[in-house]
């Protein structure tokens, strides 16, 4: 990974077909110093991921074209270190446990509080930074 922000600059990908989610998360996490990109369609998002892998991915579960589980798989294929957080409007227990089996970092039900998401993202960030420092 080649970035000029001293290695602490992490990249966050947000995929949700609700544009407002992208807008708000971009506002929030840009302020926290992350490089944020948002997509409403998972297909171009995956293309972007392939061009330049993200460290943290926040994705909706149910979307047109590709669902969150597939996104999880693709992301892990491209960057096994990436932390994937799935947010969903309708959480079913079996999809949640399936997601954890596939190595999801966390699973959050909509509507969620900002603090909740922030805590998860901060945890993911520190995990990534720790791993990177150890390397």
């Amino acid at each position: 990974m080649s970035d000029d922000n001293g290695g602490s600059h992490l990249r966050l990908l947000v995929i949700d077909d609700e544009p407002i989610v992208g807008k708000r998360l971009k506002q929030l996490f840009t302020k926290m110093g992350l490089g944020v990109e948002t997509f409403t369609n998972p297909v171009p998002a995956m293309e972007a991921m392939e061009r330049c892998p993200f460290d943290i991915v926040v994705t909706d579960l149910k979307m047109n074209g590709m669902n969150g589980m597939e996104v999880l798989k693709r992301v892990k294929d491209i960057n096994p270190e990436a932390k994937v957080v799935i947010i969903t409007g309708y959480a079913q227990l079996d999809t949640a446990s399936e997601a954890f089996r596939r190595g999801v970092f966390d699973f959050i039900a909509k509507p969620f509080r900002l603090d909740e998401l922030k805590r998860v993202i901060v945890k993911a960030m520190s995990g990534t930074l720790l791993a990177r420092r150890q390397k």
């Binding site: 708000r24 506002q27 149910k62 509507p111």
Partner: protein, 484 residues
Amino acid sequence: MSLLFLPRTIYGKLILSFSAIFVLSGFAALAAIYSLYSVEGKIGLIESFYGISQKILEVRSYEKNFLLYENRDELVSAMDKLEDVRAIISGRSSQDAINHFVDRGDTKLCLTELDTYSGLMRQLTGPGYDKDGMNNLKVKLREAGHAFMNCTMGLDSAAKEHIAKDVRRYKAVAFVLVILILPMCAFMGIILANWIMTPLRNIRRSVAQVMKGDISSIPVESTKKICVECAELIDALNKMLQTISDKHQQFMQTEKLVALGKVTAGIAHEINNPLNNISLTAEMLMEDLSGMDCDERRSMIRDIVVQVDRAREIVRNLLDFSRPRKPSVWVKVDLRDLLNNTLAFLKNQVRLSGADIKIDIPETPVITMGNPSQLQQVFVNIILNALQAMDGSGALGLKVFLRAGEDRAVVEISDTGPGIPPEVREHIFEPFFTTKSDGTGLGLSVSYGIIKEHKGDISVSSGPGGGTTFRVELPLWYELDRHE
């Protein structure tokens, strides 16, 4: 006027008619019995005459013996017998049959003949006649005997003639009775059939009207006066109609709840999304209110308002769909709005299914008359079936158009699923027919009922290579109006 005293029950009418028939036939039977009795009496008369002629023959044979052998004892016996005969003819014997014959002139004549005959016999039994006197008397005796016999034979045939006349009369009476009673019975039969059949026929007509949907219950008022049982029958039928319609109502409600259950995931998703947007935006505002400029704040607040509208719309749709409605609430419905609402209601379901959607709806309003929530239920059912049939990917087509030349709107909903094989197709509108493990088999049967109630048609076509198109036809509003 006699109609005023008609009994009001079928039972009463039957009793009345049977009593009338009983009286008539009783009358006929009495007449027959009377004729039989009198004929029997006349037969007694013939028997008496037979007895008389028998006795007279005996007398004459005594007379002949006397004439041959001049034995006076024979004459005594003959005279005894003659007295018997006299007793019978003069009516002194107990045989009534002959009595009313006694008064007749020819009977009296015969009695004088008898007197002459027996007088001669008495003379002959007396002593002392010379040969000529004797012969003279003998000749007279034979003549008198002959005359008397002829006279009684005349009586006999007169009696026979009399009887034959009676029998002829009875025959005529019987004939007249038949002529009278037959048409009377036929007439009564017709009246009776009418009394009973008219209210029943009325009921049948009303039932046909109910089935056509012109009326909702069978009118009872006019029947109450002429047929109590029919009124009771109508009451029972009306109660049954009510029960059926209640059941139908329950059925539709059940079906709706089942359909609703199928879309809960979609609905939860659909409501949680705007809620999430609202909460995210509000929290962002709170966190960084001072750091934003006015425009940014305003745009975020507008986001919140829009998302609230969106959630409200979803809830309204949901309530519209699930709320039970009286079937009689008919309003003008623009099929375009109805279908757009339906799609909004199912938007997430469509999205989850991964199907593409192709919509072809005209620019101009397509107005029909009906119950919007029921019509929506139909389209929800068909679209859910189509999505379930495609399972994963495919294209859902929705087309609305007016049928050229006819005042009907057509809604076609097509899918690219596996299609419906012919042996399944003939059953899909039956209640509880389903090929799905979690199906109820109610969707299409309820839809069929609703569309029929709206005087429309629902049909399905399915190509051999797959794909199914459901076609719903509904009369346009102004056509209904013109027919009113």
